[in-house]
């Protein structure tokens, strides 16, 4: 077999693998969206879910998903950026740093159900809060933080060393350099990473089962007092998110239209994650252009 034939075979194998991957993805997406679009309408998105009758919607679940995501990001992003800055700029190479890095990697690879059980112990039972949005968000923070730290560290490290040296050589301090040169240059990478991880958080179910709970109180969307149990903004209320809802109707649902609700909710979930991904790409390229282009 001569090298030309080998090369051709290798090429076709890789093309085949890529095709299998893309094909699976499209088939899955197509299947979910096809079945989902049959169910999704304005009514489905804006009505309450039902416990036994058919025709329930996902209004509260959808809101909960975004709200839990928002609270999670409120914790994760500042902590993650801080951790990333430390790892990229301050941590001295050595055993301690290696240990921290190993911890972050282990944390990042923890199964989410384990994070959920940990959340149950600490954020639900030990704090005495019960199933709350805050508990869920904290569990998701444990789950998401290592990813954000990693993303920020990589983004800061990928800023050319020359830029940092340029600023230091001008007699600017390390911290001011981080603030005004490194972080802005790393911003597109950080933003993309944060949005992509938002997709992961948005779709997470296992870590929320035992922390944010499987139920939602009757929400009154005209009640904006964050201390009222019926207020959507209350972070001390249980909240069933979209992914948890899909899991619940499929395992313990007694509504007759389980299939439809699950299809619709899955499609909404997938579309949201898809939007996060596209948004990340789009924003990343816009900012990149703005920073390197003519304006």
């Amino acid at each position: 077999m001569n090298s030309r034939v080998t090369d051709k075979i290798a090429t076709s194998i890789f093309v085949l693998f890529a095709a299998i991957m893309a094909g699976t993805l499209f088939a899955l997406l197509g299947y979910i969206l096809y079945h989902g679009f049959a169910v999704i309408d304005l009514d489905f998105l804006t009505s309450n879910s039902s416990s036994f009758r058919e025709g329930g919607g996902i209004k509260n679940q959808l809101f909960n998903s975004f709200y839990v995501l928002f609270i999670t990001m409120l914790f994760t992003v500042p902590l993650g950026i801080g951790g990333g800055i430390y790892m990229a700029e301050y941590a001295k190479p050595g055993k301690v740093t290696d240990f921290i890095r190993t911890c972050i990697e282990v944390l990042a690879s923890l199964p989410s159900i384990v994070v959920g059980m940990f959340g149950l112990l600490v954020f639900v039972a030990w704090t005495g809060w019960g199933y709350t949005i805050l508990s869920g968000a904290l569990a998701l923070t444990v789950f998401n933080l290592p990813v954000i730290v990693r993303v920020c560290e990589d983004a800061i490290r990928s800023v050319p060393r020359e830029l940092k040296e340029a600023s230091l050589a001008l007699g600017v301090t390390h911290w001011h350099t981080i603030k005004t040169v490194l972080l802005p240059a790393a911003f597109p990478g950080i933003l993309t990473g944060v949005i992509l991880s938002a997709g992961r958080v948005f779709g997470e179910a296992a870590a929320l089962l035992f922390t944010a709970g499987l139920t939602t109180p009757n929400l009154d969307f005209t009640n904006w007092n964050p201390f009222n149990i019926h207020s959507p903004l209350n972070i001390f209320r249980p909240a069933e998110t979209l992914s948890v809802h899909i899991w619940k109707v499929n395992t313990q649902g007694i509504i007759p239209d389980v299939r439809e609700v699950a299809d619709g909710a899955s499609a909404v979930l997938v579309i949201s994650v898809l939007i996060f991904n596209l948004l990340a790409r789009w924003l990343g390229s816009v900012i990149h252009k703005r920073m390197s282009g003519s304006k």
């Binding site: 830029l163 600023s167 390197s292």
Partner: protein
């Protein structure tokens, strides 16, 4: 190239008188971990003159240059001993305020490294950190330093465009302007034109000679012609040793060390 030579001639005759040493390097050793990169250097750098550091790659000249404004501090494994006396003060001491030192001793790197911001902000970056906030004052400094770096006429109408839209040579002059804005006394140039085309290179060389009437310039270069064109004194480094340090004309016409002669005639390098 003729006008370059003329200018140099003029300068040499005008400033023949003895200058005092702004930097005195005494028994300087620099180590990267176990690697002894610079061995026991002693040399005096004259004020308001151009000193070229030449030698093959890895000979320690850039390492030495970076130690003068403590840029080696950013490399954790770099250690040094000995003295670099600047106005009688040993700048290698631990209690030296590095931030203040770097304002007096600026540095321009091999690869043009403007910040990914506007031309204007590239220059004001360090000024704002120093606490200069008045718009008028900033404008004035931006104009002055761009004029000094011979870039003003080319960019005065687009100060708020991204610095990355400039050509390589313009970017490098912007980097020089950025250093000049801090009114340094010494400018360290680490192969400032090796990444540029010949025309940009000639502009940078012109600029360097212009600037030497006000600033002390130390330039690392791989380009022998460049050293002979611009420098008043030239130091030849080889494997971490300072082999020879003398008037540029002497180094290039009648070096005392046979190794120097071999290097400048291209026998190795």
């Amino acid at each position: 190239m003729k006008f370059v030579l003329d200018k140099k001639q003029e300068r040499v005759t005008k400033e023949k008188e003895k200058k005092n040493a702004i930097l005195k390097v005494r028994n300087l050793n620099i180590y990267y971990g176990d690697n002894h990169a610079v061995h026991d250097i002693n040399m005096d750098i004259e004020e308001k003159s151009i000193t070229a550091l030449i030698g093959p790659s890895g000979c320690g000249k850039s390492t030495f240059l970076r130690s003068i404004n403590r840029m080696n501090d950013t490399i954790p494994i770099a250690k040094n001993n000995g003295e670099i006396l600047y106005e009688g003060l040993n700048i290698l001491e631990d209690d030296i305020e590095v931030v203040a030192l770097r304002k007096e001793i600026g540095m321009v790197f091999q690869k043009p490294n403007p910040f990914p911001m506007s031309i204007y902000n590239n220059i004001t970056h360090a000024l704002k950190f120093k606490g200069i906030r008045k718009k008028k004052e900033l404008n004035q400094i931006v104009e002055d330093s761009l004029k000094k770096a011979a870039l003003w006429d080319e960019v005065k109408d687009r100060l708020h465009e991204s610095a990355l839209s400039l050509s390589g040579g313009q970017q490098q002059r912007l980097c020089i302007a950025r250093s000049l804005a801090l009114k340094p006394r010494i400018l360290l140039l680490d192969e400032p034109s090796s990444a540029l085309d010949p025309i940009s290179n000639a502009k940078i060389e012109d600029l360097i000679m212009e600037l030497s009437s006000e600033y002390t310039i130390i330039i690392v270069t791989h380009n022998m012609q460049q050293a002979s064109r611009v420098a008043d004194k030239t130091a030849f480094f080889l494997s971490g040793d300072l082999m020879e340090y003398d008037e540029t004309s002497k180094i290039f016409t009648n070096p005392s060390n046979p190794k120097t002669e071999e290097y400048i005639t291209g026998k190795f390098g």
